[in-house]
């Protein structure tokens, strides 16, 4: 064969190929095959990594798309409106997400169909003094004008004034009403109270306590309790005197099943109060005591009882705390008992009314998100969950066996047996500690969760919160919505800024620029800018946009979409310029020459002929640039896009976050629930990127012209 040693090609700087003569061809072929194999392996490594990586992220993300939901019976009562926790029964309360507990009372008060109105009889009068014009309806009894006026909300007052001025007439509803009669909006507190006042229909008749301290009467609740729950409640009404003396039992009675705590709160509302009463509950579920009890807030002018969980067996009155109202003004005093009674009386007399009979949003039951810890526990592998349940028993059993063995006389077989038992015990204990570390629920809570699952009260549902909510400190309520809105806004800004500037620059460099030093400088500079680390763009944004923004406007544009968009625009600009230049360069010279020959100016040539021909290429480059902008994180962290954004931003100048930054923030959180959310957000981000890149590739394939 011909020797390669005489190879004088300039590209072979070594020129040391003379040894090839001595190597047999077969071996050289083998070497060649081996080399090819290495290359294939390199490609396979890259692809295998991509595959494993996607699998890993998807595997971690999967649980986040599902959420344990818990079936609760909800109570919209005055108590549940004032006190979040009271809306859900105590057995499920520890497992229900705090977010859900917060929204239930809010739902109760926000029901738009449940506006409360006050009835007034309106006379002609002076608009400046509307109180003189209103007259309490006869049914209200001793109600004075002033008292009536206090019930009327600001909207209602506006309505009355407007009618007195003759601006418009309040509609007289229903034909059978007397002519002067109007219904106007009540104040917020009346509204809140009555809206939540489910049982205000006179079904509760409780009297007492009488002189002996006995409460009598019956409480009926319109279809509330779940009949299948057999819970017996014994309540003792305890009286505190004005001084802090020991409570004494006033009455003992058995109440309706299931949700006795609410009933009790009502029972208490019915009890004439001159002093402060505290209720102690003894709850028996199927004969077994239920551990948790509760104290409703009961107030008079002097005292306030705090909510305390009292341990029910044995009854220990010392666990009830109470404080004096005088010492500290409460943040938001609930409606006092007297006022509640008063409002109810008005309602029954027909002075107040709800617009619809069933105005309270009373869903009997609902599926609400369970706490993230419950969710995490239930999504553990079955092996771990079973292990958590059975391992303690196994460990106990082994320990007993060991103890029995050690009682026996020791000989070699016993010793052997003991050794094997011990190693098994060690292994089990190791497993158990490992498993225990994977959940935050203690043994008792786990048992309860299992009981709820068995009863069908916990189920898995699709995690809609993930797509509809913004940032939250609760994993079960956190979602990517506000980050998505932020990403869209930032992308819009990037597009609005870097697309025109980039394309104009490309047009200048390709079509207009003279070949001089400045042009060369710009070209070198653009290539260079494309390789500048993105974090330096963050420093630029911090120094120029935030510093400069303060210089121009009296606002802090830190962590806004505006500063993020501007910063990313500069980062993406070189990419758009380079790809647009390539697209412009691909348009053949003959088109330009033809246009020029027809008498077009250079700008007309570009604008009418070159640009339309290269538009698909430019758009492809822009999409790829935007895809890169979506994923940028570091510069945005530097310009302060790390704000906690629970609700989607409403403009360029409000606090914003974007998807990758949200991912980073979730990653930095310690709760295990956020781990899955991070992976899920990554999946969404990757899906968006993949779609964009695929669009770019398709666009290129569809519109690419071969000249």
């Amino acid at each position: 064969m011909a020797s390669l040693s005489r190879n004088t090609d300039m590209t072979d700087p070594h020129g040391q190929l003379e040894t090839d003569d001595e190597i047999p061809v077969r071996r050289r072929r083998r070497q060649s095959r081996r080399f090819k194999t290495y290359c294939v392996i390199a490609i396979l490594i890259a692809c295998a990594f991509l595959g494993y990586f996607l699998f890993d992220v998807a595997y971690r993300a999967y649980p986040a798309f599902w959420q344990a939901k818990i079936h609760v019976t909800m109570r919209y009562t005055p108590l549940s409106v004032q006190q979040q926790n009271a809306a859900v029964t105590a057995d499920k309360r520890p497992f229900v997400s705090r977010g859900a507990l917060r929204t239930i009372p809010r739902e109760a008060t926000r029901n738009p169909q449940a506006e409360v109105k006050v009835r007034v009889d309106l006379e002609k009068g002076d608009p400046a003094n509307p109180i003189q014009a209103i007259r309490p309806p006869e049914a209200a009894g001793s109600l004075t004008r002033q008292q009536l006026a206090k019930l009327i909300g600001s909207e209602g007052k506006d309505e009355i004034v407007a009618e007195l001025r003759g601006e418009h007439e309040l509609v007289i509803e229903k034909a059978n009403r007397t002519p002067g009669q109007r219904w106007v909006w009540a104040t917020d507190s009346v509204n809140t109270y009555l809206k939540a006042f489910q049982a205000a229909t006179g079904q509760n008749e409780v009297t007492g306590p009488d002189a002996t301290g006995t409460v009598s009467g019956a409480i009926q609740w319109g279809g509330w309790g779940k009949p299948d729950t057999e819970v017996t409640i014994k309540a003792k009404l305890l009286e505190f005197g004005r001084e802090r003396e020991a409570p004494k039992v006033l009455a003992t009675r058995t109440l309706e099943p299931s949700t006795a705590e609410y009933e009790l709160s009502y029972a208490l509302n019915e009890i004439e109060l001159g002093r402060l009463y505290v209720v102690q509950i003894e709850a028996l579920a199927n004969g077994e005591p239920v551990r948790r009890g509760m104290q409703p807030v009961l107030t008079d002018r002097r005292h306030r009882a705090e909510f305390v969980d009292i341990d029910l067996d044995p009854v220990d009155t010392s666990s009830i705390k109470w404080t004096h109202w005088r010492d500290e003004a409460p943040a938001a005093p609930p409606i006092s008992y007297e006022r509640q009674r008063y409002l109810r009386r008005l309602y029954l007399n027909g002075v107040l009314r709800r617009r619809f009979n069933d105005m309270i949003h009373t869903r009997e039951t609902a599926w609400v998100p369970a706490k993230s810890d419950v969710d995490q526990y239930l999504q553990l592998p079955r092996r771990v969950r079973d292990g958590l349940r059975t391992l303690p028993q196994q460990i106990e059993g082994l320990k007993k066996k060991l103890a029995n063995l050690s009682a026996e006389s020791s000989n070699s077989t016993v010793e052997q047996k003991r050794q094997s038992l011990k190693s098994r015990l060690d292994k089990l204990q190791q497993d158990y500690t490992q498993y225990r570390r994977r959940t935050r629920l203690d043994a008792e809570a786990r048992q309860q969760v299992h009981r709820l699952v068995k009863a069908g009260d916990i189920q898995f549902g699709f995690n809609y919160n993930f797509f509809t909510n913004g940032a939250s400190t609760l994993p079960e309520h956190a979602g990517i919505f506000s980050a998505t809105v932020g990403t869209v806004m930032v992308l819009g800004l990037v597009l609005a800024f870097s697309f025109p500037v980039g394309v104009l620059t490309a047009i200048y460099l390709e079509e207009f620029a003279p070949d001089n030093k400045l042009t060369q400088l710009i070209e070198v500079n653009i290539n260079n800018l494309a390789a500048v680390p993105s974090i330096l763009f963050g420093l630029l944004g911090l120094a120029v946009f935030i510093g400069g923004g303060l210089f121009l406007f009296d606002v802090d544009i830190r962590s806004t979409a505006l500063v993020a968009g501007l910063t990313l625009s500069l980062k993406i600009l070189p990419i758009i310029i380079i790809s647009s230049r390539a697209a412009l360069r691909a348009v053949p010279e003959s088109i330009r020459l033809g246009a020029l020959a027809m008498g077009a100016t250079r700008w007309q040539t570009v604008c009418h002929h070159v640009l339309p021909q290269s538009l698909s290429g430019i758009l492809t480059g822009t999409i790829i640039g935007l895809a890169q902008a979506i994923g940028e994180t570091a510069p945005l962290i530097i310009v302060g896009l790390v704000a906690f954004v629970p609700a989607a931003a409403d403009g360029m100048m409000s606090d914003t976050t974007v998807l990758p930054v949200q991912i980073f923030q979730w990653f930095s959180r310690s709760q295990p629930g956020f781990r899955g959310l991070t992976a899920a957000a990554i999946l969404v981000l990757l899906a968006v990127l993949l779609t964009m890149n695929a669009t770019a590739v398709l666009l290129r394939a569809r519109f690419e012209k071969r000249w």
């Binding site: 890259a46 991509l50 200048y508 207009f512 260079n528 120029v544 406007f553 360029m652």
Partner: protein
């Protein structure tokens, strides 16, 4: 009224005013065209002419206001501290006022086309200057703050590059509160950056080049069509995602691996050799070691390296390959002895650009590497990098002029200079390569 609403109102105002000007300017020439009267340029140009002259004074006034503001005159004379609203006002009021007078100047002999095209040319030049301005702004903003940092009383410039004690925020003022100063010896940061970059390149360079060789030399067309987009997908994955993977999957795996090696290989070995106590040779991987971000950064750079190398390998003239084949060389020999040597400058340039990218990479190391500075060459130990520290220093609640914040700009300057040198050298090398074959 917030600045945001002002901005939106302004944008909403400017567009209709511009459109109005355009149509007003076009009206007369259009009518004339219908009459058969000759204008110098086509009607659209008169529309644009009107728009240009409507907004030119606004632009000039804006610059004037900004100049006055930076000189402090504005505040002294009319007492306006932030002229943003004034500027935006000028952009609405002036064009609206000027629209009619300008439209009235339109006459048949007015050479609108030439004027408009000149303005367009100016706009094109301005647009292309944005990128230069960006570079200048980056350099200056980093430079100024960095100078402030190096001349800060708490900071010793020499110590910055030679000391191994990095503890920003450890200084305490007389009052007992953290003063934002501390010890700034950045050597551990540079070491960490170097080691992690080295690991990344050890992964990326061989795999990237071999993948590029396969793609451009050996791959059948069908495989190329599948594998190339796959590599592009790999290149498009955001670094925050890689960081998550490194921290959540790779680091625990490495720790587990190191423990396993300890238990099943090194411990028996130590026992066999009779080594005990502190002398025992063990692998100890920490949970924020440098190896994991290094490896993943390498994977991140593979497609970058591979596509750059692919470009240069494809640019090697086919005659060279044909010649070598004709002389009886096998495929591998052609690649190893002819194509790769020819493409060496391009591959070196790709390598340098990749190194520059690895040095500047932020999210992977922020998520997977340590925050604590630790002067070590052991990749299994805690390690921090320049970029991690920039993020760490700038996300705190320090004052803008405290030494801690300024230190971030000092590090930024180092980063800028380093990457700039690498990029420039890379571009020089690649230009040499292209000159050779084009």
């Amino acid at each position: 009224m917030s600045a945001g609403t002002v901005l939106i109102l302004a944008l909403l105002g400017i567009v209709p005013i511009a459109a109005l000007g355009f149509f007003l300017g076009r009206r007369k020439p259009m009518a004339a065209l219908a009459d058969g009267q000759e204008f110098h340029s086509s009607p659209d140009y008169y529309g644009w002419y009107a728009v240009v002259w409507m907004f030119a004074p606004a632009l000039a006034i804006s610059f004037l206001i900004l100049a006055l503001q930076s000189m402090g005159v504005l505040e002294a004379v009319i007492g306006i501290e932030r002229p943003g609203v004034l500027v935006l006002g000028a952009w609405i009021a002036l064009p609206a006022l000027l629209a009619w007078p300008i439209v009235r100047t339109i006459r048949p002999e007015l050479r609108a086309r030439i004027i408009v095209e000149r303005v367009v040319y100016g706009i094109l030049v301005l647009a292309s200057l944005v990128s230069i301005l960006t570079t200048i702004a980056i350099t200056l903003s980093v430079l100024f703050e960095a100078i402030q940092f190096f001349t800060h009383p708490d900071v010793d410039a020499l110590e910055f590059f030679t000391s191994t004690r990095w503890a920003p925020g450890s200084g305490w003022s007389a009052g007992g509160a953290a003063s934002g100063s501390g010890q700034f010896g950045a050597l551990p940061l540079f070491t960490g950056t170097f080691i992690i970059t080295l690991i990344a390149m050890l992964v990326a360079a061989p795999v990237g080049v071999l993948a590029a060789v396969y793609m451009s030399e050996f791959a059948p067309r069908r495989i190329r069509r599948i594998a190339k987009p796959l590599l592009e997908v790999l290149a498009g994955i955001p670094t925050v995602v890689y960081g998550f993977f490194a921290a959540i999957t790779v680091t625990p795996a490495l720790v587990w691996l190191a423990d396993g090696v300890d238990a099943y290989v090194l411990m028996p070995l130590n026992q066999a050799l009779g080594v005990t106590g502190d002398q025992m040779w063990l692998l100890e991987a920490t949970h924020s070691n440098g190896l994991s971000p290094g490896l993943i950064m390498g994977v991140m750079i593979i497609p970058f390296m591979s596509s750059l190398s692919d470009d240069v390998i494809s640019a090697v003239p086919h005659d060279l390959r044909k010649g070598a084949h004709a002389l009886g060389a096998t495929d591998a020999e052609v690649v190893k002895r002819v194509v790769l040597p020819a493409a060496t400058p391009g591959i070196v340039s790709a390598f340098l650009l990749s190194v520059s990218r690895a040095i500047g990479e932020t999210m992977i190391v922020t998520m997977a590497a340590s925050v604590q500075a630790n002067q070590t060459f052991n990749p299994l130990d805690n390690m921090t990098t320049v970029t991690v520290q920039i993020v760490y220093l700038l996300t705190g609640d320090q004052k803008f002029d405290s030494a801690m914040t300024l230190a971030a700009f000092g590090l930024g300057l180092t980063l800028l200079v380093l990457t700039l040198i690498l990029n420039v050298v890379a571009s020089i090398v690649i230009r040499k390569f292209h000159q050779q074959y084009e």
